[in-house]
């Protein structure tokens, strides 16, 4: 089993996301994260999927997704040739006694506090790779604190440089 990041350029039609996610579920492929958003050209949507499987499965995913009518192209974002980002928001229950020690942890992880209330702190954290363990480490260090809510954007990424760009008309 290995992880792979696929980057898709698809027609921005209604239902395109369900066509792609439906293909994953009916063929039994994993989705670890999926994100979609319109590109600079509003005709196209870029979808980033983090998935895992053995070589044959990953090869089938690439081919099966690639042949969908709405998919213009599918590429693998290799770790050493790509930049990745993911944003994570974590809401932690705090009291007036322990607030400062949480803030200390947040600082040492170079994370940012984006919301403060009497009983909670919300922290924003950036992930830069598929095997980035920063979040797990942070959560481990939060043992003893209660995580109220956690949300992640899912990974996005782009290839480095101009070698592998699909130029749109």
């Amino acid at each position: 089993m290995q992880k792979k990041v696929f980057q898709l350029l698809v027609d921005n039609t209604s239902g395109v996301l369900s066509r792609i996610s439906g293909l994953f579920s009916r063929r039994g492929y994993n989705i670890e994260s999926i994100t979609a958003g319109v590109t600079a050209d509003p005709n196209y949507t870029r979808i980033t999927i983090v998935t895992s499987g053995d070589d044959e499965i990953l090869d089938q995913i690439e081919k099966q997704v690639g042949k969908l009518v709405d998919v213009r192209d599918i590429k693998v974002l290799e770790p050493d040739e790509s930049v990745y980002r993911e944003l994570v928001l974590i809401k932690i229950r705090v009291t007036s006694e322990n607030r400062l020690s949480v803030i200390g942890l947040v600082d040492s992880f170079k994370a940012r506090i984006v919301d403060v209330s009497k009983e909670s702190l919300t922290v924003e954290m950036e992930v830069k790779g598929i095997s980035d363990s920063k979040i797990d480490n942070f959560i481990n260090l939060l043992e003893g604190y209660e995580i109220l809510e956690l949300a992640r954007t899912g990974l996005i990424g782009l290839g480095r440089g101009t070698d592998n760009v699909t130029y749109l008309p």
Binding site: S18, R19, Q60, G66, K67, V69, D70
Partner: protein
Amino acid sequence: MIGADAMVKCLEKEGVKVVFGYPGVAICPFYNSILNSEIESVLVRTEQNAAHAASGLARVTDGIGVCAVTSGPGATNLITGIATAFADSIPMICITGQVNSELLGSDVFQEADITGAVESFVKYSYLVKDVNDIPRIFKEAFYIATTGRKGPVLIDVPIDVQNAKISNFEYPEEISLRTYKPTVKGHSQQIKRVIKELQKVKRPIICVGGGVALSQANQELIEFAEHHRIPVVSTMMGIGIMPTKHPLYFGMVGNNGKPYANRAMNEADLIIMAGARVADRAISQPDLIFDNKVLVHMDVDPAEIGKNVGPTIPLVGDAKHIFKDFEEHDFYCDSDAWVETLNGYREEMEPKRPDHPGFVDPAKFITRLSEKMEDDAIYVADVGQNQIWSCAYHVVKNGRFLTSGGMGTMGYSIPAAMGAKYAIKDKQVIAVCGDGSFQMSMMELATMRQHGINSKVIVLKNNYLGMVRQYQHFTYKDNYSVVDLAGSPDLEHISAAYNMPFFRLTSMDEMEDMLDEFLKNDSACLMEVLIDPMDLV
């Protein structure tokens, strides 16, 4: 002009001659507009059969079939037919009526999310929301259905869109699909690699599948095989691409195939899979090993290559193009000894069937039937024991052999034969089914009568769901469960009810004469053939 008129106009522009279907309120604007067109409508007796009829038509004309049904249950009834076509890559346009677009999503009467429901069985689907999109969508739908790996495309049209005025009807000349670009031409480097291997090996074989028929590459394949003396076997969907009696043809492979065909695959040192999926039924012979073989996989769908077995040389493209490209290279393939070996296997290994005194032997019956049929006749096999016998004993001369291969949909033969006969009226078209599959589609006898469609129907009657009974015989030691067809109607009465000539064959002695009489009869007619209920394929 309203949307419904535009839909009909689009079909005219695509050269459609007939629509198989079943109306309901949500598709009524379309069926009203079609009255002003030369396009004919055939009323089937249940929606699934509209899709099968369109499939039969598409396959024998190398064209595309069209069916049109109403929303809700009309559309959901169509799904099995769509899935059947999808599994065999048959090009088809399925038009469904839909409830008023403003009511979509509110679960009103006869609303079904059909585009959602068929997502995994169609090549693509459209829900039309703007009447002005109709020409573009129809143009795209026909293009998508008939190019690359072919398949059904569904167009769902809400009734208000069918009734809306269209400002300017212009059928696009060109397609501009941003994201859909199928590969047709094979990679020349890969073709050269195959030729290099072919010159080295001693025991090459080609296994043809339905993809070769779909790309109309029969002639190219035969020329290629003859030119280089490469033996040919086929999958179920590949039956009939090469005439059965061709000296280089060695039968169908797979767990229901000919033993000598499987042995040929096993002993080959190079296999060209041409337009075949390498699917479980064809390849599940336990002893077939791909090690130490060169496997060339030729398919228009890159996702099929490597899905079930890893190829040595992948060859993505259309079979017709690729076989033509092969012929541009001159090479010699030394296979004479191999062909001779296979001829020996064919003689030694033809399975012997036990006698079934007091009954008609389906093997002999099917052989004699197909030998007596016209050279270019179309034989449509259903699903069950009848299908396996048909595959094994049917002799294709210059005609076609149709069946539901991928999905194995019972009840396919009568409507598919009906669609085929409707399209090519001067050819002999015969559906061969069992008494189980017959009762799944017997309502279509009415359609045949109504529209003067003179395809013929043969029922191999054993009063059992034979294929399942056989499975229970082996797997559950004759503990039969829900396979007895007691209660079936007397087919003579059925024939009389539909005013069709009837033939009942009860013994081998009458077979020759009765077959002659049956085939001579120009009208639609029904033949019942009594076979041993305990017979095994």
